[in-house]
Symmetry: C2
């Protein structure tokens, strides 16, 4: 037998997914296409457009599929400057950075990205707007700016339409900044709150309109209602990302979407009839928002995880059918946290490896 000196982590295209070394994050490409088609359809006919939030997967290959689908604004949302750097290097031409940038170093880096594509940032205070202006104007760069409006359940942003107007006026007077409109965090999954956020944004927009200020963008992160209705009148874009790969947290809100991303795990020991252990633990799944769900194996569920192992409870007939070496599929609780702990995604079609996708923005927290 030949000994490979290479890390044989990358299998040949066509390899059955069950033969991948585990734990492995496997994405079914057909399900991704299904999810994107389903989700984008509402925005093709709805009142708003969709801005894919790529912090949900951190993967340029998936972002490209989202931007190729109809109903988008043609740009992406990210959480960090590091993610903006990665996606700008991978073809994104319009990037909204949702984290507040309050240090000189981060703003300088944002200006670096803005030198090669459109970058829009969110501000919530005049002081922050002035710092952004100082650095962008010294850099000879223009940063797009959305003024954040405080949503009914939120804590951050202009507290009233009058405050939003005052913040917009500050931005409009500053060099190096281009006022682009308003932004609010949507609330999810509460019931009526989404429409309250929408109402809050629309009131702020009306106040700016009445003062003669152009508001080309009114942006809100999705809740169930905005996502399923394709937005709302007066909202220009809805930010959403988990729909492409899906996870267990969002199952109840998106019953028409498929769990396109799963972790393949192997049973490494089955010491008692009702106990088995997987080779997959916290490091390879993230349980920050909860344990993964075992998929398609009746009577088998995770009861706990250590750093490297997953403890299974095995009930009923499963006790006679489960063996050491068998594979188990896990649905991550939160796809953003899960993708973040992988360097690459195994993309599969019809159960066979089709490609290896780089999770290029993994770990770009700063």
């Amino acid at each position: 037998m030949e000994i490979s000196m290479e890390r044989p982590v990358f299998k040949a295209v066509g390899t059955p997914v069950e033969e991948l070394d585990t734990p492995a994050l496997v994405v079914d490409v057909g399900s991704v296409k299904h999810n994107i088609a389903e989700a984008h359809r509402a925005f093709v006919s709805g009142p708003s457009l969709l801005r894919p939030d790529v912090h949900s997967h951190l993967c340029p290959a998936i972002a490209a599929m989202q931007l190729d689908a109809p109903g988008t604004v043609g740009g992406v949302a990210v959480s960090t400057v590091g993610e903006a750097e990665v996606f700008s290097e991978n073809g994104a031409s319009d990037i909204l950075v949702r984290n507040l940038l309050v240090t000189k170093s981060k703003i300088v880096r944002a200006c670096g990205v803005a030198s090669r594509c459109s970058v829009t940032v969110v501000v919530e205070s005049a002081a922050n707007a002035k710092l952004l202006s100082q650095i962008s104007s010294e850099s000879g760069i223009e940063l797009g700016v959305l003024a954040q409006v405080k949503s009914p359940g939120g804590q951050i942003g202009a507290a009233s339409a009058a405050d939003a107007l005052a913040l917009a006026r500050v931005v409009l007077e500053l060099d190096g900044l281009l006022f682009k409109g308003l932004y609010a965090d949507g609330e999810f999954p509460s019931e009526d709150v989404g429409s309250n956020t929408t109402q809050t944004l629309l009131e702020a927009r009306a106040t700016l309109d009445n003062s003669g200020i152009d508001v080309p963008i009114v942006s809100v992160s999705a809740n169930e209602e905005l996502f399923n209705s394709g937005g709302a009148e007066g909202i220009t874009e809805v930010i959403a990302g988990a729909y492409a790969l899906m996870d267990n947290r969002h199952t109840a809100y998106h019953s028409n979407l498929r769990h396109a991303a799963k972790i393949l795990a192997t049973i490494i020991t089955h010491p008692e009839p009702e106990v088995a252990w997987l080779d997959t633990g916290q490091k390879a799944s993230s349980i920050d928002t909860g344990l993964p769900e075992v998929d398609g194996a009746s009577g088998v569920y995770l009861s706990r995880m250590s750093a490297e192992h997953g403890g299974l409870v095995v009930e009923g007939d499963a006790q006679n059918s489960l063996n050491v070496g068998d594979k188990v599929w896990l649905i991550p609780s939160d796809i953003g946290n899960c993708a973040n702990v992988y360097d690459f995604i195994h993309a599969a079609e019809n159960g066979a490896l089709e490609a290896v996708w780089d999770v290029a923005a993994r770990g770009r927290y700063s």
Copy 2:
């Protein structure tokens, strides 16, 4: 102002750590040296030697510091074949893989590592020993083997000394395997359990001795008692790793050790006197075992984290002293999970950047 087209994540040596882009995992080298000196001292004079478990940091630079210190077996423990691959490429010559290897693909890869350094694996069943033997002998490779003994609170391994003897005899008869001794998971942090595990191992060892079987290694993962006493008579090696960097989970057991690894975070908004938000959330810390602790800031603590943000509660005088842009230090709950979400560690001496250490084995789950 010049715009950098490079990702300016890597700062110049000498940069004050407070100027690093956040979130950043920062390690104080002096504290690492202190911790290693403190922990290894017990094993220089104690009955056992120490085997550093590098899954706690996944970082070859730290492993080298541990192996350079006195009191070790001269080798490391890892959890996965992927980690063994990385550490063998970074100078480790003796590697114990603690995960059970039950698939052909993993065992072939373990043999690949064993073609360039000493690899020892753990077995708990005759069937697994036979699969290992089949692949290693076909590869012309010899794998070291430790027979796992079931610790009093554990579920995996030979259930009695007689079972351990039977398993050892299976291994001794198989080609491609070198029987090296016994292994058990220690139990931590219960009180008497450690000594029970030790007793269980010593009974198994005596049974093998009486049958004329040489037992060069008796290995156990550390609990508080074994760690602080430098092991126990008849135990040849104790496996421990968190001591080098430390974390919040281990504070109570190792009061002489310092929190060498902390996450530097920035306050990005402070919307109400008692509320502030950090730019650091689950992705950049891992809260699988709990929220980080705020270090050195009285009246400030984390109450929650989202994927990218940390919610601070601010009390008392801190309400008047904390501002947007201020830095906050966080002590991770679990250093293994935390290191795993970073590509590199900022190594600091006296508050200034000294080196950037690669977390080379991060994400090597398979």
